[in-house]
């Protein structure tokens, strides 16, 4: 597909340019920044992530599974008299349950993040601009149809202090 790459130097510029592009009805393929610019998700109209649900639900599952396991091993599978403590030592089960809940929640969130974001060790990074991990902000627009007027879009971007505009052919969004 044909794309238009706009390179910016400042976060205010990329933020406003993205917002303007979205309001103009342009198709924003992605925005590339060296750090997380707050407000870009609104500017790009991204869907809110469901990762917090993963975190919460798997944490809950971990806690439930663990407390059941503790009860089962201590009171059911092989109940051993330890210091005369009651078979169902629920207060004693709390610390491990809490820790396993946090462990499940954290590990599952990170694994889900890697899966959903497509982050893999063997993935080769395709940079739209060599300095996008350093100090440049890049807006990637798709030239969707013949009505896409490069000149008009370029003027829009120049209003937001774009430092470099380029048309590029690419197979897939990096």
């Amino acid at each position: 597909m044909r794309t238009l790459v706009g390179v910016f130097e400042r976060e205010e510029d990329i933020l406003q340019a993205t917002d303007a592009a979205r309001r103009s009805g342009l198709t924003i393929l992605d925005v590339y920044t060296p750090y997380a610019v707050h407000g870009l998700d609104r500017a790009m109209a991204l869907q809110p992530s469901r990762l917090p649900w993963v975190c919460f639900l798997l944490g809950l599952f971990g806690a439930t599974a663990k407390v059941w396991f503790e009860y089962w091993t201590t009171a059911s599978s092989w109940a051993i008299d330890v210091g005369g403590k009651p078979w169902n030592s629920l207060p004693a089960f709390v610390p491990v349950t809490f820790e396993v809940m946090v462990l499940f929640a954290g590990v599952s969130t990170v694994i889900a993040f890697f899966l959903v974001a497509g982050l893999r060790p063997w993935r080769k990074a395709v940079l739209v601009h060599p300095r996008v991990t350093d100090d440049r902000f890049v807006l990637l627009l798709e030239q969707t149809d013949a009505a896409f007027d490069v000149t008009q879009v370029s003027r829009l971007l120049e209003r937001h202090h774009v430092v470099h505009i380029e048309e590029r052919e690419m197979q897939e969004v990096p």
């Binding site: 051993i80 008299d81 330890v82 210091g83 005369g84 403590k85 009651p86």
Partner: protein, 442 residues
């Protein structure tokens, strides 16, 4: 040979004279020591090695000895008396068996035969006049119990200044009065519980130890060591407080007020607590409570975190710090085949001779008879010449142990911790009026 009399009551401080000597002499000491320096209050008129600085208290000497350089006097050689008992050659004049006591293999100690005299069929040990002199060397001594004052300075007026209620003494008169009124107040602790006591016991094995009968002879300690394959660790390890005895005899002293000292000997062993603090903290379930009331130590499971020993308020648990050698085939003949030999890194403690319990139960099953009180004797009970130790089923109302436990003299150590020990003690009864608690120290 210069002369010096050694008998009771002498201060030897100024009277050291020349001449080498080996032997034991009697020492008197005076004065209590500061509670925060380990001071010995012992007025035991028994033979003890003496130190260079005799004007110090005995406790100071022993404190210096324990774990650090001692100031015991070691004598280089023995001089036989002038009229020696025939056969002594001139070459032996310099000393009988003149090698100093060695550490490790080899003869230890020295023969004092030349100082003895056989008179009219009795052996007399105090016939000779001896002199004492400092040898100029020091030698660290080993002891399993050091001596401390239980109380802090009473001037502080704190609870800490009250003697710890570890042993109990009473008098004949008080006991009679108590017995008449069946009043055991002061012996019944408050026992709050957070959870219902719903662990049933088929039996509840326990001990009752009569402190009045105990003389501190330590036969039980040795019997336990022999029965349970407890390693002998050697003097250096004992100095580092790593003795392995599962049973120990604690000594508590109190002033009688007339220049003498009362002693209470308290055999201390695993109390087999129903609410054992050690069991709760073992991460791998190496110490658990059996359905017969025994606190069990599973040697094979123990990974050696030592949390159980730290949490034991009685400090009765013993850890295998090294691999204690058992590679001498002949020496291994003394081992009891019914008891595991523990490896390095494993915790051990009194098991109430569980091997004997199991054997008696198996025998009863084989014969098809019920287990009777007295079928099981622990090694300590078996060896006690005073029959001070009684093993029995505390869940059986007719057993001797249960009857003793119901008696007026029965108490448990550190009962206020609510650990519910299975070992109880019978308090000491004296004819003299009981001493004030603030005079007791151990």
């Amino acid at each position: 040979m210069p002369e010096h009399r050694v008998d009771g009551g002498d201060e030897l401080t100024d009277q050291i004279q020349e001449g080498p000597l080996r032997g034991w002499v009697r020492v008197d000491r005076q004065g209590p020591s500061h509670p925060f320096q380990e001071g010995l209050e012992l007025r035991d008129p028994i033979w003890k090695p003496i130190g260079e600085r005799l004007e110090r208290t005995w406790g100071w000497i022993e404190e210096r000895a324990q774990g650090r350089r001692g100031t015991a006097c070691l004598v280089e050689q023995l001089e036989p008396p002038v009229g020696d008992h025939g056969g002594q050659s001139a070459s032996k004049r310099g000393g009988i068996d003149a090698q100093p006591a060695t550490e490790g293999d080899g003869p230890v100690g020295v023969s004092v035969a030349p100082f003895l005299e056989l008179t009219e069929g009795t052996m007399r040990y105090t016939t000779r006049v001896v002199t004492i002199a400092a040898a100029g060397r020091t030698r660290p001594l080993a002891a399993t119990q050091r001596h401390h004052a239980i109380t802090a300075s009473p001037r502080l007026g704190l609870a800490a200044t009250v003697a710890r209620p570890i042993v109990r003494e009473t008098t004949v008169a008080a006991l009679a009065a108590e017995g008449a009124s069946r009043d055991r107040s002061g012996h019944e602790p408050i026992r709050p519980d957070l959870w219902p006591d719903d662990h049933p016991y088929a039996h509840r094995w326990g001990l009752v130890i009569d402190l009045n009968a105990c003389t501190g002879c330590s036969a039980c300690v040795i019997a336990c060591q022999a029965e349970n394959n407890i390693p002998v660790v050697g003097r250096d390890e004992v100095r580092r407080a790593r003795e392995m005895h599962w049973m120990r005899i604690d000594r508590y002293f109190s002033d009688t007020g007339d220049g003498s000292v009362d002693v209470v000997h308290q055999p201390m062993l695993c109390q087999h607590c129903a609410h054992a603090p050690c069991e709760t903290v073992c991460p791998v379930l190496a110490t658990v409570h059996s359905a017969e009331g025994l606190n069990e130590q599973v040697y094979n499971r123990c990974v050696g975190t030592r949390y159980c020993a730290n949490n034991c308020p009685y400090k009765v648990r013993r850890f295998n710090w090294f691999t204690y050698r058992h590679d001498d085939v002949r020496a291994n003949l003394v081992l009891n085949p019914d008891v595991t030999v523990r490896s390095r890194g494993v915790m051990e403690k009194c098991s109430l001779c569980v091997q004997r319990v199991q054997e008696a139960k198996a025998e009863a099953r084989r014969l098809g008879e019920p287990l009777r009180d007295g079928d099981i004797t622990t090694a300590c009970e078996q060896s006690c010449p005073a029959r001070a130790i009684v093993f029995g089923d505390l869940a059986d109302a007719s057993s001797r142990a249960t009857k003793l436990a119901a008696g007026g003299r029965h108490f448990r150590v550190l009962e206020e911790l609510n650990v519910r020990p299975g070992v109880g003690y019978l308090s000491v009864v004296r004819h003299r009026p009981a001493q004030g608690d603030d005079k007791r120290h151990g």
